[in-house]
Homo-oligomer: 155 residues x 2
DNA sequence: TATATTTGCATCGCACACGATATAGTCGTG
DNA sequence: CACGACTATATCGTGTGCGATGCAAATATA
């Protein structure tokens, strides 16, 4: 393909990913608003619902987010009484994040959200197999890109 | 799939899209820094390189961004002398955005970026056909999700 | 033509992302 | 034990995204 052609918006692979990401966050909004959550906050809860009491660092590893994003985010969630923050006794540098009753109780209310969102796509004739394939491709890209960006990140 | 299972991070489709989007922006950074551009600013230039002199509204339609995001972004670009903003004479409400010499000249310097980024993936054994397929799937999702969110947006 | 509605853009406030930097705690080595 | 290197978290500044709102110009409608 010509370089001229490659610069056209319609030929960029980066743009659809960027757009779909934002559109998905937008699609989540009405569901998450009912729980008084933002999308990144929901992601933190997803992680904690699987394993209560994780360090900020561990959460960051799972979500590929650095502490300069997570620290304020988690503090806002603490303010909303979704979780607690406690310095570890083993290592005073480590902050252990644990769910409160309230944070834990949201799990039930959120349990139907993934299916609801999936249905928006399936109702518009998207094949479930396409969703699976897409996820598989993206997961492999994460491995490549996360590894590639490790060196430049203040991890 | 059980609801319990669906709430696991590894089973979310939203998370890989969100992550890959951020990782791609991160991968662009070193290339765009050389041109003193951010990623969204680069997107605006992509649009203007195709068609100089567009209204803020038209740019927003192409990038799926609202004026509350675009207005300050475009003003920053004006400050960096990449473009000019002029009220249309036909319709005083409309602001026409046009490239400056400097903004136009960046096109050449940016021309190899898409291929450079693509190579990061291809060098890690990603098949080009997978890239094409992914783009095709995402493009169809954009149609679905953009339409779906039209009602809630302050367009 | 007067007025109500719509449209295009801008501003404000809040919540991310993230590079750069700071700080305190821990560890490794002499 | 001292001290330099490393680690975990936090803070700051800048630039998005976006809902809510404001405002002026254009358009529709009575």
């Amino acid at each position: 393909m010509e370089k001229e052609e490659q610069l056209k918006l319609e030929n960029q692979i980066c743009f659809p990913i960027y757009s779909v990401s934002r559109l998905i966050t937008r699609a989540y909004k009405p569901y998450l608003e009912k729980l008084d959550l933002t999308y990144p906050q929901y992601l933190v809860l997803l992680v904690l619902w699987e394993e209560n009491s994780l360090s900020v660092n561990k959460i960051g590893q799972k979500l590929l987010l650095n502490t300069n994003t997570l620290s304020p985010l988690i503090k806002r969630m603490e303010k909303n009484e979704l979780l607690t923050r406690n310095r570890s006794k083993d290592d005073e540098r480590t902050v252990l994040v644990s769910l409160t009753e309230k944070g834990l109780s949201l799990k039930d209310k959120a349990s139907s959200i993934p299916q609801d969102l999936l249905n928006i796509l399936l109702n518009q004739d998207v094949e479930f197999s396409d969703v699976i394939l897409l996820k598989k491709t993206l997961d492999s890209w994460i491995d490549i890109l996360a590894q590639d960006s490790e060196s430049t990140t203040n991890k």
